[in-house]
């Protein structure tokens, strides 16, 4: 899928009438990528690490730190081991997709840009009830918080919308606006199906493929791994190793690899959580350990960008228009 979208957008200056079938899961993704590319976003590919949310991607977490502008959009597979249901629940997955848009600084018309993306998906706001419902976001592991909304479509949450105020313990200036689409939910709505597994992934010349065809077995087996077979001892060790590696890399001023270790530690923690290996009291302590690392990475990243003279601030964006 990554390859296909790369081909589509290899010539982003060309304005073309898209023929994406938004009634398919992949068509929906293509449409969103096209729309946000047209708004000027860098279309990035998913991060190749296990993360719990698109926010973890360095394009969001690290790039929202410091004064440099950066706007991007990308699909991010998310893993939430405790949400696994062995493929039996039509609404819950331990592996699912988010479509993440980050705009820095947040433009004053960011809400309109978002609403226009829904119109592009064929959602008429004079037929459907679209609402911005207060929802303030806080990530204790990332030392981050922001204010914003859940977006409701006829009572269903389809997106989250956040103005980042703090990330990695650092104040966001300028502010990054983050929009996260829950792709499966949105697709279920557009395709009018009651089970994730019934979503049409594609319906092309080679036949129809469903979400269940692609991912059902994965849900069953990964749930078994998350809940039953993940090696607790090894995960604890892994957490400790990631922690010390990250600390060492921070000392060396290598913010990006240090941050990768944070994400790995965070995922190990999530797996331990799914294995019920961490007591209520311990839980808080582990979250604190991850946060300490995340904050140090944020600071190291900021320091490095500062040392480089915040190069993205010097880019004249108007030049090539």
């Amino acid at each position: 899928m990554g390859i296909i979208s790369a081909i589509f957008f290899s010539n982003s200056k060309t304005v073309f009438m898209s023929t994406f079938d938004i009634k398919t899961f992949q068509g929906l993704i293509f449409k969103l990528q096209e729309y946000w590319a047209q708004q000027g976003c860098v279309i990035i590919q998913p991060l190749d690490l296990e993360v719990g949310a698109g926010t973890f991607h360095p394009m969001t977490f690290l790039r929202s730190i410091g004064p440099e502008p950066m706007s991007s959009a990308y699909v991010q597979p998310c893993r939430r081991p405790t949400d696994g249901r062995y493929g039996e629940n039509p609404n819950r997955l331990q592996h699912y997709y988010q479509f993440q848009v980050v705009l820095k600084p947040s433009p004053i018309n960011i809400q309109e840009l978002y609403l226009n993306s829904l119109k592009e998906l064929g959602i008429d706001p004079l037929v459907h009830d679209i609402r911005f419902v207060e929802d303030n976001w806080e990530s204790p592991t990332l030392g981050a918080w922001g204010l914003g909304w859940e977006i409701w479509l006829n009572g269903m949450e389809i997106s989250q919308f956040t103005y980042f105020q703090q990330v990695g313990g650092l104040e966001c200036a300028p502010v990054t606006g983050e929009i996260t689409y829950g792709l499966e939910r949105l697709a279920m709505y557009i395709q009018n199906v009651d089970s994730i597994y019934d979503l049409v992934w594609t319906d092309g010349p080679l036949g129809k493929v469903l979400y269940g065809d692609v991912f059902h077995q994965n849900e069953v087996e990964q749930s078994a791994y998350n809940f039953e077979h993940a090696n607790v001892e090894a995960l604890f060790t892994q957490f400790d190793v990631c922690e010390s590696e990250s600390a060492k890399l921070i000392e060396l001023g290598l913010a990006l690899p240090a941050y990768e270790q944070v994400m790995k530690a965070s995922h190990a923690f999530n797996l331990l959580d799914a294995r019920h290996a961490i007591s209520v009291t311990e839980r808080q302590r582990y979250i604190l350990r991850v946060r300490t690392l995340a904050k140090a990475c944020a600071q190291a990243y900021y320091d490095k960008r500062q040392a480089l003279g915040f190069p993205m601030c010097k880019t004249n964006k108007v030049e090539d228009k």
């Binding site: 706001p125 459907h128 009830d129 303030n136 204010l147 006829n154 009572g155 502010v175 606006g177």
Partner: protein, 688 residues
């Protein structure tokens, strides 16, 4: 003086609905205060609030302040001129600062001397010149829970600001507020109106917005919702469950409300109503509906922000959202019932009540013991109380309560019934959290009361015991609510309990965990403070409460009887004089450092008024003893009131501080006994 209408609107992105009215009224109050302070009169001020705007309208506002004459006093004349009669530097400086010369200054002569004086007319300022600063001040004073920044601006507000509209009549008041230049343009409904709404005159604010599909007035929008929801309920022979908080919230997330009705599968009605209602209200902001018998219907009434071209699609969408939520509740109810509450007790060992105080299992065991003690004291079934206490927190481990925390206790009741627990025990599981808020119902049964009391005492003792008493607004364990609840249950259910006794049992149950050696005293003092709040809310005058508090009665019923007795006493003619006399006695005794006699000695008495008081008091004393024994405080105080005449006579005619040391001590002894009799009930000297 010409007048006109002032309109100020702050146009924003969607504001937090629960804070909306508080923000709008704070804005309105500040603008009104500032207009008043600026001596600008007006006929009426009104606030508006919707998801995307806060506004204030002021009608018949004076266009300009009246000119004001001001007088500024300068240096004294003897300082203003030197020996040669030339103006000093001080005088010149003062004159310059007022824009005049020393020669132009007037003189102010009083009996204390003569000063330079500057009389001037301060011209009144126009509304248009004053308003922008007033708006800025009002906005900085808003109670914003969490201010935010956006874009690359350093400006902070509730949510990003898009428009500032300030008009006086048909004229725009120019000004920059929160980084936005004011004009006469508003935003209409997000979807029903395209482009800007032009406001031609401040008077037309609500009207032009209505044309643009926005009901700007919060109260009328809320009323529209109430009326339409009720009408929708009536149409299906039902009653909507309206609650004020939800109505405020729904009115806060809609600008053009439109009411629709959805349904869900009848089968879900086998699940207890509470979690279903919670799902509908708290998650989805729906209004549930009940039939004539109060039975929940498989319907929900909800409010949308648009007049949809195809409402069926919105209904269908919402039905699709609520279905899995109700299915969750049904699933939890089914699976939770497979495991008894009793068997869940062990899992509470993994849940902390508080780090220093241990787990919820330990808390449950303490609650069980204390509930048993309370039930025994009250003559209720101690075994049931123990059992209910032990099970009290087990429903926290059920999936239903993990998912819907608001139904804690209630689900405990249902699951206990399912487990075959006796009904008093099941009911107690629900009762333990009562009263949950101000004005809430009390526990139904005595077992429920026992557990509710035990839970609250246990929390108070534990948290005070580790020195984490509430400070200011910070009361994370809701100890104030717990203490008020404790007082209410004991007084209003007429329970014969003494807090001191409950605290002793509770403190002992914590073993060595408590580090505060004054836990009992600290909790008592805290509870005394709640008594004050409890009675003040009932309109009991503060001096009565203080008179009783002086005595620190630790049995709430006893406290209550004293409050009633003192309130009655205060209404008697004799009260004021006796209060004054008690105060006087108190002052005299405070200065006396000798030792009083055990008894008043008749032989030392010489004055008739002294003898008369002693006899009257002694006669009364035999009547008082049984009254105090029976805690008949009202009767006792009424009897004591009869001493007013002899007390007055005594103070009018007897010299207390006699030269003879024995005579003096004897008189003080009489007064001290008298005061002690009153103090048996309360410190009467504190009555005003």
């Amino acid at each position: 003086m010409s007048t006109n209408t002032l309109l100020i609107e702050i146009g924003t992105e969607e504001l937090p609905p629960k804070a909306l009215t508080k923000l709008a009224t704070a804005f309105y109050h500040s603008i009104c205060e500032q207009l008043n302070a600026a001596s600008l009169s007006y006929s009426e001020a009104k606030w508006f609030a919707s998801p995307r705007r806060l506004a204030v309208m002021v009608t018949a506002l004076e266009q300009q302040q009246a000119d004001k004459s001001v007088e500024k006093r300068g240096p004294a004349v003897n300082v203003a001129f030197d020996a040669d009669g030339n103006a000093t530097k001080a005088a010149q400086g003062w004159a310059r600062s007022n824009g005049i010369t020393v020669e132009q200054a007037d003189r102010l002569t009083t009996d204390k001397g003569e000063w330079l004086l500057h009389k001037a007319i301060k011209p009144g300022q126009a509304v248009a010149d004053l308003v922008p600063a007033m708006v800025r001040i009002a906005l900085t004073k808003l109670p914003i829970p969490k201010p935010m920044r956006w874009g690359d601006s350093r400006i902070q507000f509730i949510r990003p600001v898009h428009t500032i509209t300030m008009m006086f009549g048909a004229d725009v008041i120019a000004g920059e507020i929160l980084g936005v230049q004011s004009n006469n343009l508003l935003k209409g409904h997000r979807f029903h109106h395209q482009g800007d709404v032009v406001l031609d005159h401040a008077d037309n604010y609500a009207e032009v917005l209505k044309q643009a599909y926005v009901i700007a007035d919060f109260a009328s929008r809320r009323q529209t919702i109430v009326d339409d929801v009720n009408a929708a309920a009536q149409a299906m022979n039902a009653t909507a469950l309206l609650d004020d908080e939800l109505l405020d919230e729904v009115a806060g997330i809609n600008e053009w409300p439109s009411v629709l009705v959805g349904s869900f599968d009848q089968g879900f009605l086998h699940v207890p109503a509470e979690p279903l209602i919670y799902s509908m209200k708290d998650h989805q902001k729906y209004f549930p509906a009940v039939d004539r018998n109060g039975q929940l219907l498989a319907k929900f009434i909800f409010v949308t922000n648009i007049e949809s071209k195809d409402p069926q699609q919105i209904i269908h969408g919402n039905e699709k959202v609520i279905r899995p939520r109700l299915a969750d509740a049904e699933f939890f109810f089914k699976t939770d019932k497979k495991q008894t509450l009793k068997s869940r007790l062990v899992s509470l060992d993994n849940v902390l009540f508080q780090k220093q105080l241990g787990t919820l299992k330990a808390k449950s065991e303490r609650i069980a013991d204390l509930s048993k003690h309370v039930a025994e004291t009250l003559g209720a079934d101690a075994n049931n109380a123990y059992r209910a206490g032990l099970l009290s927190k087990t429903d926290l481990m059920t999936d239903m309560v993990l998912e819907f925390p608001q139904v804690q206790g209630t689900m405990g009741k249902y699951y206990a019934e399912n487990d075959g627990e006796v009904s008093a025990v099941a009911q107690a599981l629900e009762d333990q959290y009562r009263p949950r808020f101000s004005g809430d119902t009390l526990p139904e049964g005595v077992i429920g009361s026992s557990v509710a009391i035990a839970d609250k005492v246990d929390t108070l003792v534990g948290i005070f015991g580790i020195n984490q008493a509430p400070k200011g607004d910070k009361d994370p364990f809701a100890l104030r609510r717990a203490a008020i609840g404790l007082i209410r249950i004991i007084i209003e259910k007429q329970l014969n309990l003494d807090i001191t006794d409950l605290l002793a049992v509770s403190i002992a149950s914590y073993g060595t965990k408590l580090i505060n050696n004054n836990t009992a005293e600290d909790v008592i003092d805290f509870i005394m403070g709640r008594f004050r709040a409890y009675y003040q809310e009932q309109g009991i005058s503060v001096d009565v409460i203080q008179a009783v508090l002086a005595n620190k009665p630790t049995a709430p019923l006893d406290f209550d009887q004293r409050v009633k007795a003192v309130t009655h006493f205060r209404s008697l003619d004799e009260a004021q004089a006796l209060a004054a006399a008690n105060k006087r006695v108190g002052n005299i005794l405070a200065k006396f450092d000798g030792e009083l006699f055990n008894e008043f000695n008749l032989e030392l008495a010489s004055e008739p008024a002294e003898l008369a008081l002693a006899q009257a008091y002694s006669a009364l004393n035999s009547e008082l003893t049984p009254l105090f024994a029976n805690k008949d405080y009202q009767q006792a105080l009424t009897k004591l009131a009869s001493l007013r005449a002899p007390v007055d006579e005594f103070f009018d005619n007897v010299m207390v501080m006699a030269d003879d040391e024995a005579v003096k001590t004897n008189r003080l002894t009489l007064l001290s006994q008298l005061r002690a009799s009153f103090f048996n009930v309360a410190d009467i000297s504190l009555l005003q």
